[in-house]
């Protein structure tokens, strides 16, 4: 019992560190792309509360949302937000990593408008086949 609890504590700290590293890497790549002029808009990833209904077996205790904010200076259209979201969701390795690190909700919104879009990550990846122990 003690060992199990100890493992969980260690696992939690590791996951926290990995999650922060992933967000940092994403933001760094976005900043580099913006500074070099290869993309017109700066993207920023952050943690968010997430949606309770989207939870899965690997969901973290808190902050299960992966929020991507686009600094556009104008409200983004639904199609634009949808394209950014679906681009992230179509990257299999990224989405697997996000799910493994405890995220369950992807959010995309801009810095001006009122609305954003949300996706349930589990709907966009099949991991049951390689994670039999979590079935």
């Amino acid at each position: 019992m003690f060992e199990n609890t100890w493992n969980r504590i260690i696992e939690w700290f590791k996951d926290r560190s990995e999650r922060a590293k992933l967000v940092r890497n994403f933001n760094e790549a976005a900043r580099n792309a913006f500074v070099s002029g290869s993309v017109p808009t700066l993207l920023k990833a952050d943690f968010s509360k997430g949606v309770k209904e989207y939870r899965h077996d690997l969901s973290a205790w808190i902050n299960t949302g992966f929020r991507v904010q686009a600094f556009t200076g104008r409200p983004l259209s639904k199609a634009e937000m949808q394209f950014i979201g679906l681009t992230i969701l179509s990257d299999e390795s990224l989405i697997r990593r996000l799910i493994a690190l405890g995220w369950d909700t992807l959010e995309v919104h801009d810095n001006k408008g009122t609305y954003g879009l949300r996706w349930k990550m589990m709907d966009h990846v099949v991991i049951g086949g390689i994670l039999p122990e979590y079935d």
């Binding site: 394209f83 990224l94 990593r97 690190l101």
Partner: protein, 120 residues
């Protein structure tokens, strides 16, 4: 100050260090036993190569390139059966990689060579 002068204080610290190192050794052995099992850790290690730059590029440039390619490579644009076949295969690949800018760039090169078309 009395606590710092007490020998039992130092003994307890040494005991704590010994217990902690034993726990670490036990945990490491456990991990070795489950080394071959596919678990969350394996999943994380296998996906070290996440291309964030590619995802960000795709978010802004893939749509434009996709629209151009899907229009230029539409099979109905080609009368010749061979080129029509190539265009059909390319179109399906373009649709599959709609959100992958790098892959779309590769398909663009293939389209230019195989279909003998100009794409800006």
């Amino acid at each position: 100050m009395d606590v710092l002068n007490n020998i039992w204080f130092y003994i307890s610290i040494v005991e704590f260090v010994v217990i902690a190192s034993l726990l670490i050794v036990i945990l490491k052995n456990k991990k070795r036993k489950h080394g071959k099992k596919i678990n969350k850790k394996d999943l994380l290690n296998s996906s070290e190569d996440v291309d964030f730059g590619g995802v960000i590029q795709s978010s802004f440039h893939a749509k434009g390139l996709y629209d151009t390619l899907i229009r230029k490579c539409h099979p109905d644009r080609y009368i010749d059966e061979k080129r029509r076949q190539i265009a059909s295969e390319l179109s399906s690949q373009i649709v599959e990689n709609k959100h992958n800018y790098k892959k779309l760039c590769e398909l663009k090169e293939i389209a230019v060579v195989k279909l003998n078309i100009k794409i800006d």
